[in-house]
Assembly symmetry: C2
Homo-oligomer: 332 residues x 2
């Protein structure tokens, strides 16, 4: 049986072009004991994958040139040589960026049984959802009544973070660019602030208008001007959970950082970077709390779906222009 | 009785000149019930005082133009109308920048009875010592065996932080500029790295040479290039205690920050600003642990002493050129 997969043959500089991604085909080896073969139905694209294309180890190993790229995927077992899975089982695993995956069974997990569409386990009930939950509850230690600021608030993680924060009773402000995202934020009772066309100083002033008493928590997905503006609007004792800095992922050279880092001192703030995989022990807590709320429709999650394996590079690159509302997915 | 005191009549821009400081004289009001009069023997000058000259509230109220400046001082009670103090008692209080102070008795504290010179309560056993202790133990949660980096390592706080860190068994590296400071650091078993004449990238490389496996703790007193170089040399899970950013205190306009802030994410590091006064409940723990070690000579603290009230502005301004080794003091 053949597998069609994406690979890259060089490390990109700056924002990759579509040409970087080569769609190739290989014959799969015969299935060995302990392995399963999965027909992928949904593939995830996520900003962190850009870092894996650089060829240097950061918090995760780089992709290997010429080998299939990797990422979260959901699919159906079509052949199994492991007692844990049988044909027809739905699984989540990391052998994405391809149509048919072959992998050790212990690298796949069965989908939980909430009444939700299967692709929800790549977004609202997957890594992005867990990331939002861990960032707010574990890293930022969000408390009842806290004022919370979220950047990239219309994205896969941010759109869940604002809803989790909203349940806590304080003022929640979301930064986004796309008008549809801003509209969606307002529909959630979140004060929406656009970063478009604003300098860091102007964004800072807009945040002050939106929440004059300042923020106890900043959920950071962006970096750059968003961070600078947020630093000017911290309350004493604020916590910043650094989940991502997407504004910087395609920089050729390091851009200067915010000139107001001393606000960390003046406001006695704490800023902490985290990777959700370091805190995966909370995934069960998260899914037990969040699964029923998603199944009941209480959580308003959104998806941007591209169709077909050929659309994968566009879906991935769209993350950096903010073309996704909620989770960016590819349906096969 | 008269008091000679320093005041400022305008808010300085950038590094103040000596002209900023006016030495004035006023007649003290008759002593009221509950007040004491103190002849100051030692005055403290500290970098944080620069922030109080700007006329804006940061983490501490600004100085009032035309009124006596304030700061830590040690002196002897010469008159008391409060049962807690009698003539001849030695006290520490915040009515510095003057020769004779008059203040409510509840704003003074008797000096502890360790066998140390009285000015030690302005440095090694005062605010700077407590700051070093709180930053390492409370904010950075220093653990046995941690590799620790300290900037401004020859200063009042840094020179104590390196000795506290050294007792923990890991590699301790201190950044300083002055050759005498570097020599003193080496005499303490601390690897000394000079920042002078080095770009951020060169300083980063020098830190890597000094401690190839990277730092678990960075005790930050400086900001600017020191922070950028430190960020490149963090271990996973590192903690940065931000005590000060003296490199920025005299900036006219905000200078750009480090371009590598994403290291906070990559190394899952935590960076936290703190003000020692928020953690003063640890002062007793600190002094009980540190007092006997200072009295026995185990702690090698240093002082740079200027003589006479007239030398106060030079002493203060010297802090920003790094002319002090250890605690900068004025002896009256």
């Amino acid at each position: 049986m053949q597998s069609r997969y994406y690979t890259i043959h060089e490390h990109p500089q700056g924002l990759p072009s579509k040409d970087l991604f080569a769609l190739e085909t290989r014959e799969l080896a015969p299935l060995e004991d302990g392995e399963i073969r999965v027909r992928n139905a949904w593939l995830s694209v996520d900003p962190y994958m850009r870092g894996r294309m650089d060829g240097v180890t950061t918090y995760i190993e780089p992709f290997t040139l010429g080998e299939p790229l990797e990422g979260a995927a959901v699919g159906e077992v079509i052949e199994s040589r492991d007692g844990r899975f049988k044909q027809g089982d739905k699984v989540r695993h990391m052998a994405g960026w391809r149509d048919v995956a072959q992998l050790p069974a212990d690298q796949a997990e069965p989908l939980p049984e909430f009444d939700v569409p299967e692709q929800a386990y790549l977004g609202v009930l997957g890594m992005p959802g867990t990331t939002a939950w861990v960032g707010l509850n574990v890293i930022a230690n969000m408390q009842k009544g806290d004022n919370v600021l979220v950047s990239a608030a219309g994205g896969a993680v941010g759109s869940l973070a604002v809803q989790l924060a909203k349940a806590n009773g304080g003022t929640v402000v979301g930064i986004a660019g796309d008008p549809k995202k801003l509209e969606w934020l307002e529909s959630q009772g979140v004060t929406a602030v656009s970063y478009r066309g604003k300098s860091a100083a102007e964004l800072s002033a807009a945040l002050k208008d939106a929440c004059p008493e300042g923020f106890d928590v900043y959920y950071e997905n962006v970096g750059g001007d968003c961070l600078e503006a947020a630093l000017n609007n911290l309350r004493v004792g604020a916590r910043i959970a650094v989940c991502g800095m997407i504004a910087r992922y395609n920089d050729d050279a390091p851009a200067a950082g915010p000139g107001n880092l001393a606000m960390i001192l003046i406001r006695r703030a704490r800023m902490q970077g985290f990777i959700v995989f370091d805190h995966w022990e909370h995934h069960t807590d998260f899914i037990n709390e969040f699964g029923p709320r998603v199944a009941s429709g209480e959580i308003d999650y959104q998806e941007t779906v591209h169709e077909g394996l050929e659309s994968l590079p566009d879906a991935f690159l769209g993350l950096f222009s903010g073309s996704n509302q909620g989770k960016m997915l590819v349906k096969l």
